[in-house]
């Protein structure tokens, strides 16, 4: 009798564990839990795994409201993972399938954002303009104007940038800051500047001098030594009657000499570009009107 009771008790305990365990397993796989786990992975910049979890949400709960969010987040994960083309394709599909819904509108905007993050500013400008045409009188209009402003700034079109910043509607909370940016962008013209013509001329006179002017001492040293050695070699070759060697060295040396002038000019242009980017980045940081994804992380 006691043995039977013991068996019954064990069976009862087993049943309780079985029911409890199954319940725990099922409760872990709620749409909220999977979505929350996917968000956790996304926040930790583990975008590949996040995509898997968002796909799980869509697969297991295709009709749940969170599945739309998951579809959008997959695009965001591709974007943040810098898989530009896949992100754009993904957002384009969402625009096609959900054009009249919020997710479609957000995706349309994110196509432009992807181009911006990719630093393809011309394409970004076109995409923001398309957004403004497709979604007229929308609260995201102001966002699009601000992004257009930054995009024009990045391609050095200060007047158009100012115009876009000033297109932000007066009732927008970002209006005041956008106006300040519009006033401050003129400072970009005062950024430190190196004349490419001066750099090229200096390097033509003495290889390496233009690079020094463009604040590239390493390049200056390499250029001076390379060209100096070739010139020395050419002179020695001709002085010693090795004309064939002299001609060969002259041919190769001319390549280095021309490359030296190109290098000095290139360095001056790159210096100017770098200084402008520094100023624009500073403005974006200062006014907190930067790219959506970065701002959300702050």
């Amino acid at each position: 009798m006691a043995q039977r009771l013991r068996k019954l008790f064990r069976g009862f305990v087993f049943l309780i564990f079985l029911i409890n365990g199954s319940h725990a397993l099922a409760s872990d796989y709620t749409v909220e839990n999977i979505n929350s786990f996917a968000d956790y992975l996304f926040d930790n910049e583990d975008y590949y795994r996040a995509i898997t979890e968002y796909e799980r949400v869509i697969f297991m709960f295709p009709n749940h409201p969170l599945s739309n969010k998951a579809r959008f987040q997959i695009g965001m994960a591709y974007l943040m993972g810098e898989k530009w083309e896949i992100a754009i394709n993904h957002f384009e599909n969402l625009v096609k399938n959900y054009h009249d819904q919020e997710i479609g509108k957000q995706s349309f905007f994110m196509i432009a954002e992807t181009y911006y993050k990719k630093k393809d500013y011309q394409q970004a400008i076109g995409a923001y303009k398309d957004f403004l045409e497709n979604y007229s009188d929308d609260h995201m209009h102001d966002e699009a104007h601000i992004r257009l402003g930054w995009s024009f700034l990045r391609i050095n079109n200060i007047n158009k940038a100012q115009k876009e910043f000033r297109s932000v509607s007066t009732y927008s909370p970002k209006r005041a800051e956008a106006e300040k940016v519009a006033q401050e962008v003129i400072k970009i013209n005062d950024a430190p500047h190196k004349s490419p013509l001066v750099a090229a001329s200096l390097s033509a006179i003495l290889p390496g001098l233009g690079q020094l002017y463009a604040e590239r001492p390493g390049d200056a040293t390499v250029s001076f030594l390379l060209n100096g050695l070739f010139i020395w070699g050419i002179v020695e070759a001709f002085n010693n009657g090795n004309n064939a060697l002299g001609i060969i060295l002259t041919g190769v040396g001319l390549g280095w000499y021309t490359g030296n002038i190109y290098n000095a000019t290139n360095n001056a242009y790159k210096f100017n570009q770098r200084e402008k980017i520094k100023l624009i980045d500073g403005l974006e940081y200062k006014y907190d009107l930067s790219f959506t994804c970065n701002r959300d992380k702050k």
Binding site: R10, A24, T258, G259, N260, Y262, N266
Partner: protein, 146 residues
């Protein structure tokens, strides 16, 4: 008989472990299929580039010389270029894009500036290596628009 009595306990253990089993499905090897390009890492692109180099039919002597260097000399010489694209690939692309004359000038420019460029360029993961990114567009943007 005693073993039969322990079956419920074993089942219990299995049940708890089954949850871990479900989660461990995330740890299967990642696909390298082009269908899921998020994990299509650059190391595969490098092999593709090499295939392209070998299979491309070019009449340009400069490109042929670079191809010869990339396929036969560089693997023996060792992978030492810290830039991306590597100097030989940069030269190849520059000549393809702008022709031999400008391409050679741009190559000499790259050879002069590559060491100091590392102070300004972004560091990126390319296959198994980390390299400083310095594409053609960064050096012809002031006279050529793509």
């Amino acid at each position: 008989m005693k073993i039969i009595n322990q079956i419920p306990l074993l089942l219990l253990l299995l049940l708890f472990n089954s949850k871990q089993f479900v989660y461990s499905q995330d740890l299967v090897p990642w696909s390298v299929s082009g269908k899921y390009p998020v994990i299509n890492d650059s190391s595969h692109q490098i092999y593709k580039q090499l295939d392209d180099v070998i299979n491309s039919n070019s009449n340009n002597i400069c490109l042929s010389l670079i191809k010869f260097y990339q396929v036969f000399i560089s693997p023996v010489d060792g992978d030492r270029c810290l830039m991306y694209p590597t100097c030989s690939q940069y030269s190849f692309e520059a000549i393809q894009k702008h022709g031999s004359f400008i391409g050679i000038i741009m190559t000499t420019d790259r050879l002069i500036h590559e060491s100091e460029e590392q102070d300004f360029a972004h560091f990126i993961n390319v296959g198994k290596n980390y390299r400083y990114i310095d594409p053609i567009e960064n050096n012809d943007f002031w006279w050529h628009s793509d």
